[in-house]
């Protein structure tokens, strides 16, 4: 029997039976991981933060992704720019990961000094004829979309980001996220492959059994359910769900609030995303334990608190924007079985902690949910690496987005020659 571990990455993904989970090697092998980072994190648009990471000119946010590192800076003209975090002299890292404030970007090694437009402004000992003009920091494609920051490390970035930009700019504009502040940030390292983290995020099959806090506000029905064998109580719940969604959408749309889902998830797109204004349960105001707003100061100039949850998926992030706050989560792959998940909670810039909001109340739902998901991802990683693992069937009701993700993943590998 040939050693399956010698199979090529492309063979592994093509060997997947439709509507079945992926072969375990796609979650465990280092070479697969390296290719994944190259294709999905260096050659696609990825969400790497929010405008509020760099609220003022001179602020720098440094993000490491694999061997690459990116400086995200706000220049004096208030524009956010991104550069490769490597000095144009002998390549030293300019900044450690994390946030800082600078006048200029100064290399710690020989003090080559760059302004926040990337231009090399000062060197010593390079002689009068040294041409600093061709030693600017290397720029990285960056798009600020309604307060979310996307970058692309490829020389030529996928052009279909335009649809995401156009779609989300209109939906996010009323929330003024670009001017919001970060009320809290959290990082967890999940012990699983990044694709398992994403698959877990793309289904709510597991929600009922795992996420009591999230499902207080989140309607699992949004992401599919099987009508067969539902209890009478569950059937009533489904009817109530349909009625509530229809009423809310009619109400919002009458006020000009965009609700309809937009899905760019197919194998033909480079820039994967999905958005929709989702109805929430209970009071329907916010993803909190009591489904009411966590911050008394709304993000935008809203007359009402129940604006639903405008969610956004990309291939490495998930965000929820509500009337009072936004939760933005994105992942950074660290290794075949390790994934960093970074979450930021945004509130109005003038909301005061302890007065307008309590951090616990603001963050408790997604802190609990992320921790629960981390456990699920860890057991998925362990199980799929077990020699006894055999890929199993997906639910055609609740796991259609996992099937779609697998197809997109295969198509994007193929598009990049894998």
């Amino acid at each position: 029997m040939p050693a399956i571990s010698s199979d090529k990455h492309s063979l592994l993904i093509r060997s997947r039976q439709p509507w079945h989970s992926m072969p375990g090697e796609l979650f465990g092998r280092q070479d697969v991981f390296d290719t994944d980072v190259d294709v999905f994190f260096y050659r696609h648009w990825i969400l790497v933060g929010v405008s509020a990471d760099v609220p003022e000119p001179g602020d720098v946010s440094t993000i490491d992704i694999g061997k690459a590192s990116i400086l995200i800076v706000r220049d004096d003209d208030e524009q956010i720019r991104a550069f490769r975090n490597t000095c144009r002299h002998r390549g030293a890292r300019l900044k450690e990961p994390g946030k800082s404030t600078v006048g200029m970007l100064v290399c710690p090694y020989h003090q080559w000094t760059y302004d926040l437009g990337g231009a090399l402004r000062h060197t010593t000992h390079m002689g009068k004829d040294f041409d600093a003009g061709c030693r600017a920091l290397r720029p990285v494609h960056l798009k600020e979309v309604g307060g979310l920051v996307f970058v692309c490390l490829a020389d030529e970035a996928p052009a279909d980001v335009a649809l995401l930009e156009q779609t989300m700019a209109a939906r996010l504009a009323p929330y003024g996220l670009a001017r919001a502040k970060i009320a809290h940030e959290a990082e967890i390292i999940e012990n699983g492959n990044w694709k398992l983290v994403m698959e877990n995020n793309r289904e709510c099959y597991h929600c009922a059994g795992t996420h009591p806090e999230l499902t207080t506000s989140f309607l699992a029905e949004d992401f599919g359910f099987c009508p067969d064998g539902l209890s009478e109580e569950a059937q009533q719940s489904v009817q109530a769900y349909h009625a509530k969604v229809a009423a809310s959408v009619a109400d919002w749309e009458s006020q000009g609030l965009i609700c309809a889902p937009v899905e760019a998830l197919g194998p033909d797109v480079a820039t994967l995303f999905r958005t929709q204004r989702l109805v929430m349960a209970g009071h329907g105001e916010s993803q909190t334990m009591d489904t009411k707003v966590a911050s008394q100061k709304p993000l935008g100039d809203f007359p009402r608190r129940d604006l639903g949850d405008t969610h956004l998926w990309t291939h490495s992030s998930w965000s929820h924007v509500m009337s009072d706050h936004a939760v933005v989560s994105y992942l950074i792959p660290l290794g075949p079985d390790r994934t960093l998940v970074r979450t930021k909670w945004l509130v109005h810039a003038e909301a005061v902690e302890g007065v307008d909001y309590q951090v616990d109340q603001l963050t408790s739902v997604w802190k609990a949910t992320n921790a629960q998901d981390a456990s699920l991802v860890a057991i998925s990683q362990q199980g799929t690496q077990d020699p006894g693992y055999v890929p199993g069937p997906l639910s055609r009701y609740t796991e259609t987005y996992i099937e779609g993700f697998a197809k997109w993943y295969e198509a994007r590998l193929a598009a990049h020659g894998v």
């Binding site: 000119p57 404030t101 000094t113 302004d115 010593t124």
Partner: protein, 376 residues
């Protein structure tokens, strides 16, 4: 921009790069003294060659840094090269004996032909390169004449046609450094005019010009077209403040004003030399300000700093290690918390207003206005 005419080569870095061998500013070399010339009663020129015989590459106006060990203490001083780069095999520095200054006195008392000392390579940005101009006005006072002398000698050696007025201030006629050479050069060169401004007669019987200081009236009378001239100025801080102010008052374009400042005792051409003061440099022109006390909170050091000295230079002189690079307020390497007191700071983007608001300062471009306490 002035027409390049044939002053082009003086202002081109390439002119100087074809002469001599590269001597990186940080690298130490042994110099051999080959001549000592008394210029005035308290100013001497020391001529050197490199021990390895290599010719010196530099730009007129740059300085070298002497590293001396005097009474067991290692001292460094910056001195402008007063000779021109067109004569690269020997080169000179011109040093005024400063009362109480350990280095200048040691040089005057001990350095003889054959003497050896250590130095690091040419540095400094007060040079004509990148500032092409056909009509020039050199302003200098005291031993601030040295970089301008190097530029003048270099221009003449290049055979460039010139339109230069050289206005030099001295206490008395006997204090005019290079007095005879300047007079001879003015006789030989059609485009060169030398005007000496003396405060007092001294031992001189007579002086063919009014006594006094550099003034707008004097400039208007002696150099009526001074507004059209690019100005290079070097002298003590007080002198240069006055020169800059009177030019600004007259409407001279600031982008055509270039100056070298030298801190007290570090010698002309040596901004921010990392060592102890050689004592007040130019008593005649130095403003009467006394100085402020700087206290370093962590190292518990305390010392006096003149309002004209950068805090970076002063901190270094105290023997305290501090990082720096550009020394012009760009890179931010010397950012330090000011715990108490007030400074005047003229940075160039190396620090943010909100950092300033929190108490951070760039010491390289900060000058004390009161007693200060630094978090060092």
């Amino acid at each position: 921009m002035e027409p390049l005419a044939d002053t082009g080569r003086l202002a081109q870095a390439a002119t100087w790069e074809q002469l001599g061998v590269d001597w990186p500013a940080g690298q130490e070399q042994t110099l051999v003294c080959c001549r000592v010339v008394a210029e005035t009663h308290d100013v001497r020129s020391f001529h050197f060659r490199r021990e390895d015989g290599a010719p010196l590459r530099f730009e007129p106006g740059q300085y070298i840094t002497l590293a001396l060990e005097i009474a067991g203490q290692r001292l460094a001083r910056c001195y402008t090269v007063s000779s021109p780069p067109t004569r690269p095999f020997t080169f000179s520095i011109t040093v005024k004996r400063v009362p109480g200054g350990p280095v200048s006195n040691w040089l005057h008392d001990h350095l003889q032909p054959g003497g050896r000392l250590q130095a690091t390579g040419p540095a400094g940005s007060f040079t004509p390169t990148a500032h092409p101009a056909h009509k020039l006005l050199y302003l200098s006072a005291g031993s601030g004449i040295t970089p301008l002398m190097s530029m003048l000698r270099a221009s003449l050696d290049l055979g460039e046609s010139m339109d230069l007025v050289f206005v030099h201030s001295a206490r008395t006629p006997a204090d005019i450094v290079f007095r005879e050479e300047l007079a001879a050069l003015a006789r030989l060169s059609e485009g060169l005019r030398v005007i000496a401004v003396c405060e007092a007669l001294g031992d001189e019987r007579s002086w063919p010009a009014p006594l006094g200081r550099l003034s707008l009236a004097l400039l208007r009378q002696q150099v009526p077209d001074f507004l059209e001239r690019a100005v290079f100025a070097c002298g003590p801080e007080g002198y240069m403040r006055a020169a800059q102010a009177l030019l600004a008052e007259a409407g001279h374009a600031p982008e055509r004003y270039h100056q070298e400042s030298f801190n007290i005792g570090t010698g002309p051409g040596g901004p921010d030399a990392p060592d102890a003061p050689d004592a007040p440099a130019e008593p005649a022109s130095q403003p009467a300000g006394t100085g402020f006390t700087v206290r370093l909170a962590k190292s518990q050091k305390s010392f006096t700093v003149a309002p004209t000295q950068s805090l970076l230079a002063a901190v270094r002189q105290s023997g305290t290690a501090i990082a720096s690079s550009c020394q012009q307020g760009v890179c931010g390497s010397c950012k330090t918390m000011l715990l108490d007191g007030a400074v005047r700071m003229a940075h160039q983007g190396g620090i943010r207003q909100r950092e300033i608001d929190k108490g951070w300062r760039l010491l390289c471009c900060s000058y004390p206005q009161t007693d200060v306490v630094l978090d060092l």
